[in-house]
């Protein structure tokens, strides 16, 4: 029986993933990947109106801890700070005096944030408390001159911000069913994000798409992970299942349950001998993971041949839940054809030399995989920009891409967020 006779090995019997997503198997326009006009709509209507994640709460463990994160597409520099009262708040990193940048360090711990230009001084709850030569300001109302707050909500440890002055919806409504679906996942090792960054020569969606399907794995990743993400039973890495919640979506990816390193893979065998982990891209041991793996959204099909899930929070966050823990990807637009990409692998603090060696081997392989993906995105963008094609054709197992583009376009067209979410 050939794969060409079936839509998917794993789709529900009478339903395709595409139709489950409420969509049709039509060609998808490439315009949103190359149009400056569309980029500006994304700026205002997608990124300007969505709840975006900037950090996790573990990055701000103590009162006074702050960090500065950029949202380039919105031209925003954002201070995220844990106040003395323990509350996490965000602000535009802009001084009320003459709009200079207040925090110049990327992170720190401070009781006061001081703008170096004229030493205007703010508390970490945003309040302006110090103005040198205050008497020379006629009619200065300090109470109205705090740092401009940005709507901030923390969900499952993820710090979300919304750059609308008055957010159209609260975070709970924005997440909708996805929030319920993912609620309660144990985010293991959340205090230790090994972070990798890259500046990419592609539209943010090209980068996002590269991590939204497994179809490419047997091809471009043949040497690195081809044998772990596909097998004779599933040559094309068909996904195990997919769920859709408004603009958000989730897919479970296939993993070869019988993979063992080849005879010649001496170092791979050495690295994985000391720790019983289930796949070359897993970093934690099986015992630690039992509760986490029991969550309904982690390996939703509860398949033996599962490797990891991609949970995509609109517009630009992927939370991947794998066998050894979770990792996150962010795709930040910096122009119509450039992206700042971040991936964070949350890993245990290694307790011994063998565990730390396993982590080195794991991360080394991860970097090779990322390199295979990310060195290719420039080629894709060049092809898109050439005008040689106006559409892409997507298969069933690329449904995450189809769903993503559909909802980005929907938000770009929608006059209101309510309309976009309807």
């Amino acid at each position: 029986m050939g794969n060409d006779q079936k839509i998917s090995l794993h789709a529900p019997a009478n339903e395709s993933y595409t139709r489950k997503a409420g969509l049709l198997p039509e060609p998808v326009s490439l315009e949103s990947y190359r149009s400056q006009a569309f980029y500006e709509l994304e700026r205002d209507r997608v990124f300007g109106r969505s709840w975006l994640t900037l950090a996790r709460e573990e990055e701000l463990p103590e009162p006074g801890d702050y960090l500065v994160r950029d949202i380039e597409v919105l031209g925003a520099s954002v201070i995220v700070a844990r106040g003395r009262d323990g509350t996490i708040r965000s602000f535009h990193n802009v001084c009320s005096h003459r709009a200079n940048q207040v925090a110049w360090e990327r992170s720190g711990n401070a009781t006061r944030l001081v703008c170096r230009y004229h030493n205007w001084t703010y508390r970490t709850d945003g309040r302006l408390i110090g103005v040198p030569d205050e008497a020379s300001f006629e009619r200065l109302d300090k109470a109205k001159c705090g740092l401009t707050p940005i709507a901030t909500e923390v969900w499952e440890g993820f710090i979300f911000v919304n750059l609308e002055r008055n957010p159209s919806v609260r975070l709970e409504e924005f997440l909708g069913g996805m929030g319920d679906y993912l609620k309660g996942i144990q985010y293991k090792y959340a205090d230790n994000p090994i972070t990798i960054e890259a500046h990419l020569d592609c539209n943010w969606k090209v980068a996002c798409d590269a991590f939204s399907e497994a179809y490419h794995i047997p091809a471009i990743h043949a040497n690195t992970i081809g044998k772990t993400f596909s097998s004779q039973d599933n040559k094309f890495a068909h996904i195990l299942g997919a769920n859709f919640f408004g603009p958000h979506r989730s897919a479970a990816l296939y993993g070869n349950p019988d993979y063992i390193p080849g005879e010649e893979a001496h170092v791979e065998r050495l690295a994985y001998s000391a720790i019983d982990s289930a796949n070359v891209v897993a970093a934690g041991s099986r015992e630690e993971m039992a509760d986490y793996l029991a969550h309904p959204a982690v390996n939703h099909p509860k398949a033996r041949e599962w490797v990891h899930d991609v949970h995509a929070i609109f517009p630009n966050l992927h939370i991947d839940t794998g066998q050894g823990g979770f990792y996150t990807h962010h795709f930040w637009p910096t122009s119509v054809n450039t992206t700042r990409y971040e991936v964070r692998f949350y890993m245990a603090h290694a307790l011994d030399a063998r565990a730390r060696f396993q982590q080195e081997a794991y991360l080394a392989r991860v970097m090779e995989v990322l390199l295979e993906d990310l060195s290719n995105v420039k080629r894709t963008q060049r092809g898109i920009d050439s005008g040689g094609k106006d559409y892409m054709v997507l298969q069933e197992n690329e449904v995450m891409i189809r769903h993503s583009v559909h909802h980005v376009e929907r938000w770009a067209r929608a006059q209101t967020v309510q309309e976009a979410l309807a």
Binding site: P193, N223, V267, H349, R354, A361, S375
Partner: protein
């Protein structure tokens, strides 16, 4: 060789010829360095080191990370470098991923808390 000039612990003197090329202070450097080496150098290190790595780890794991003498730490960094060499020998069959630029644009901006 007296104790003061010894680079590696006793029993691992044969690996000292690799220190200049393969001992680097962090993950980014270990990875970048491997990608720029000729395959025969990578294979020479890999074929030697893979037979010594288990014994090296047995020695290194007797020391807490924060109290490692320099020669033990240096030996451990060679073991960590072996992970990178194996990317070339066990995966690609060449020093780095085909069709990828070198140097590439990926960098670890927040590394491991131990032996970054």
């Amino acid at each position: 060789m007296n104790v003061e000039t010894r680079l590696l612990p006793p029993g691992f003197e044969d690996l000292e010829r690799f220190v200049a090329t393969w001992d680097h202070p962090d993950f980014n450097a270990r990875r970048a360095w491997r990608g720029g080496l000729p395959m025969e150098d990578i294979r020479d290190f890999y074929e030697t080191m893979r037979h010594r790595a288990d014994a090296a780890l047995t020695l290194v794991e007797q020391y807490p990370f924060e109290q490692m003498p320099e020669e033990i730490a240096r030996l451990y960094r060679l073991v960590l470098a072996l992970a990178h060499a194996s990317m070339a020998t066990e995966i690609h069959g060449c020093p780095r991923a085909p069709y990828a630029p070198y140097p590439d644009k990926l960098t670890v901006t927040r590394s491991f808390s131990i032996f970054a």
